[in-house]
Symmetry: C2
Subunit: 195 residues, 2 copies
Amino acid sequence: MKIDDAIQIVKPHLTEKRFDHTLRVKDTAVRLAEMYDESKHKAELAAVFHDYCKYRPLEEMERLIKMSSLPKDLLKYHHELWHGPVASILVENEYGISDRDIRQAIYYHTTGRANMSKLEMIVFLADYIEPGRDFPGLDEVREMAKKDLLLACWMTSKNTISYLMKKNATIYPDTFYAYNDLTIRINGGNKINGN
Amino acid sequence: MKIDDAIQIVKPHLTEKRFDHTLRVKDTAVRLAEMYDESKHKAELAAVFHDYCKYRPLEEMERLIKMSSLPKDLLKYHHELWHGPVASILVENEYGISDRDIRQAIYYHTTGRANMSKLEMIVFLADYIEPGRDFPGLDEVREMAKKDLLLACWMTSKNTISYLMKKNATIYPDTFYAYNDLTIRINGGNKINGN
């Protein structure tokens, strides 16, 4: 799919603000793909579609989660977590995007997970650091994103967990599986710091 | 088992410092049991044995984890997590302590877990707030322990996750499950704050 076609597909599904965010995530993802030797087109396409289902009616997403192979425990967590997994199904059903890596990058962009691929990390990170974002600790992550993809994703998952705990929110298991997995990958698998 | 017998059993297995800690956990657990209408004897016994295996040789604990029904993923995490589960087995094998609630309180005293019983919460919390402990945020938890067991345990699990992330340590899943479960129990199961 041509990227301009993808943009035209996604646009009517988003608010103006969210559409602008999507374009910034796209540009950030392309930059990261160049930097870390990943397919620019895949990064671009995954980024354009990452929030495709952000404003779907909750009932529609709920129905799709129940009817598909998506994990049912999603329904026990905040619906903010549903749009990534749901989009990963709909981009295939509606537009024939069957590339597994692109679909996983869309699926896990909110939570991350254990064993993220490079493309998944790029979209996960781009969504967090795109230039429109502004929250404490972000500049350190942006700096790290220029040097080390793994470490920047690890900082992102750490910040996300802290943020959710500050809000007294529950944390979807994939979010902390991502943190644990990145911690082990960074420490080279040693357990010295582990608990 | 009489509590004095339990103390005599445990003493030679601990350093002097750890033995003193154990006695303070016992006193704290008894106080919490009185406050929250739990069996004082169960709380006392679980507290006395909670660190029974703290100084077992790692090889012995590793063998027992492999041979027993304990979850094998423990071996992928720091050995600090092994002594609770291992003790929950050995107190039954060696001293016939078969009470399920006591054994679970020993098992989960380090991590907590989802669906903790009152006794489990009491030992988990007593281990954290006993008067010999001193770290940032502890006074708030001590104050809360006088008012609300659930909230005090929730603060404990939150502090534990923050502490481990600060150390760049991996986090055993039960630690997170405890946090999520307590968050839901406190919010009355609503998902408003959830992610």
